[in-house]
């Protein structure tokens, strides 16, 4: 499978620095050489390409926007976004792995952890020697995590955790889980739960038809005793996990465009090469309309993502702006995949081409990190001042 050609109708390339372009080119090449040759097999088999983790770490892709003093690459947010774009152009499963590791595990330790926790975990997570997961969602609490039932009871200088987390990316392959639980006074707190702690188990969710090249698990916490030194000291309140999600959503705003670019590139080639009624299907107006639509949406989405990155680098990003971009750009990815699938006819439903894989992956991306509805309501509240969640 060839890599996508960088679609750049509006010369957005010129808005990037040389470093940002180089980072993007490195990841694009890595995806072409190392991801695309096997991703369809992993997807079909339902396996995560774990052998790529050390390679991603070596390139510096894990937690790339965190500081160099913790063994990270210290990239700006535009470069970080481009990494997510290129990984997702490969497969959303790989991007999900990187998002969880960087934005949902390394970031909360960086933002809410003690200096000792940072020193202990962030460099290992950056080197890919430890894998992390993030446990917020529960079987009965998805869009409304505030209703969580997982409890953390203080007990003689330690904490005892009880509860179930569901839909946890990387769950069963993780060395540490960032678990969010309510304490005795009702506050949400974050804990670093380590693999092997008695009472802590993970089991994989089977029969998924989306993100098949990514591990998704249940986490069971049955009287798990966690030392006080594993509590994130600066992370009290639901605000903390939501702050992590904001980091991950930022990356997804870029990722959606990556998936769209991969689909667009594939379908343009296909439409030029496929002949019906004696002509390439690309010569029919209905087909051209769809290609024009996808290109337009990709271009708009690229500008949104780039501007979002600049605002984030300037420290001016508001979470409602991230919501707008996540909502829009995942829609772009999903729609591009659907339209590309259509234009590819029966071939569009196979794993020979990347579009159906992207299509079913984007269905998960549409739901996680805040469903499309939730981001709509966040914008609704930003516009009207009236929260409509409940």
């Amino acid at each position: 499978m060839p890599s996508h050609r960088g679609i750049d109708f509006y010369h957005i390339e010129e808005l990037l620095t040389d470093e940002e372009r180089l980072v993007r080119d490195t990841v694009r090449r890595f995806v072409r050489d190392r991801v695309l040759p096997t991703i369809d097999d992993h997807f079909e088999a339902g396996t995560f390409p774990a052998d790529l983790v050390p390679e991603m770490a070596e390139l510096g892709l894990l937690g790339a926007n965190l500081p160099e003093r913790y063994g990270c690459a210290g990239m700006n947010n535009v470069a970080y976004g481009l990494i997510m774009q290129e990984l997702e152009a490969g497969d959303s499963g790989l991007r999900s792995f990187a998002s969880v590791q960087g934005a949902l595990v390394m970031h909360p330790i960086f933002a809410y952890g003690s200096e000792e926790q940072k020193q202990r975990w962030i460099p290992r997570l950056a080197r890919g020697e430890a894998i992390g997961c993030f446990g917020l969602t529960e079987p009965d609490h998805g869009s409304d995590p505030g209703g969580m039932e997982t409890r953390a009871r203080a007990s003689g200088g330690a904490w005892v955790l009880n509860g179930t987390k569901r839909w946890i990316t990387n769950g069963s392959i993780a060395d540490i889980a960032i678990v969010w639980a309510r304490d005795d006074s009702g506050d949400v707190q974050g804990f670093i739960v380590e693999r092997g702690m008695p009472g802590f188990t993970a089991s994989d969710i089977r029969k998924k038809l989306s993100l098949r090249a990514s591990v998704t698990s249940d986490l069971i916490l049955d009287d798990v005793e966690v030392p006080e030194s594993n509590r994130l000291p600066e992370g009290r309140g639901l605000r903390s996990p939501l702050g992590c999600l904001d980091q991950a959503r930022y990356g997804i705003a870029w990722g959606g465009i990556g998936a769209a670019m991969a689909c667009y590139d594939c379908v343009v080639d296909y439409a030029l090469g496929r002949t019906q009624f004696g002509k390439p299907i690309a010569s029919f107006q209905l087909v051209q309309e769809k290609l024009a639509h996808i290109l337009t949406e990709i271009t708009k989405g690229q500008l949104l993502a780039w501007r979002l990155g600049k605002l984030k680098d300037d420290g001016r990003l508001h979470f409602t702006q991230t919501s707008l971009a996540k909502r829009n750009n995942v829609r772009v990815g999903l729609e591009a995949a659907r339209l590309a699938r259509d234009l590819m006819g029966a071939n569009g439903i196979t794993l020979e081409y990347p579009v159906f894989r992207h299509l079913v992956n984007m269905e998960s991306v549409y739901t996680y990190e805040g469903t499309d509805h939730m981001h709509t309501l966040i914008l609704g509240e930003a516009i009207t001042g009236i929260p409509a969640y409940r």
Binding site: P2, S3, R5, G6, D8, H11, E13, D18, E19, R21, L22, V23, D25, T26, R29, F30, E58, L59, G60, L61, A64, E68, A73, G74, M75, A79
Partner: protein, 282 residues
Amino acid sequence: MSPGAAASGRDTLMKVIVCLRPVPDPASRLFVNEDRTWIKDAELSFVTNEADTHACEAALELCERVSASRSEAGEVVVLSIGRDRAARVLREGLAMGAARAIHLADDDFEGGDEYVRARMIARAVEKDGGADVLLTGVQSDDLGGGVTGVMAAELLGWAHASVVVGVNAVEAGLRARRELEGGLIETLELATPCVLTIQLGINQPRYATLRGIMAAKKKEMKTWSRGDLGMAAGDVGSEGALCQVTEVRVPERDHRVQMLSGSPAEAAARLVEKLRLEAKVI
């Protein structure tokens, strides 16, 4: 100390200069320009010529091996001609691990052929105090001339080997393996300084890691103009070229299918006859 270093009085031992050429991304869709002299390249994205990335990797490996075995430091210098595109491929070379870069940039450098570029490269190598080894890719992905490195060797008066698939430092200089026709491999020993043109697939070029990209920002990049190279306006660009491109076009495809009738044996006999007498391929 290597002969090149001794001759030039340099204290770095084993200095390798690698030429990197920016070429349109091979995945691009290409269209011929209005006056049919080249492709429309203004909007294309440019990448490092593939064989040149292998040359860069070969240079880095050579210096790493020399440093490890002789405890002598090696230095890889990357060189490119052109404007922003060239600066970008140089940054990639620096991010891969080259120590510093030389950027030949001047409005007068637009256009030109392999001969002009070989002259500029030779001048730049001399101005930088020479080298032990100059590496180029075997050919460029866009022009496919395959002569720039060899011409630079001639202009410098250095030994050269082309289509190199393996290289090692030895006492007398370098041992290089060349790919010949018919699957033969030739092994040569060359006294340094010398020029090698590197074949595709000789190694696995390393990625520019994010750490390397950050480190590259702090590395030296010299920019030399025509004046810095001491060349006259008539020596560079299209004026200095020996060849001019007169036309670029997409070849017309000609499918002439002949169906051979008769029994399989008869058809096969006629096919053999046609291949022998008309196509003259057997």
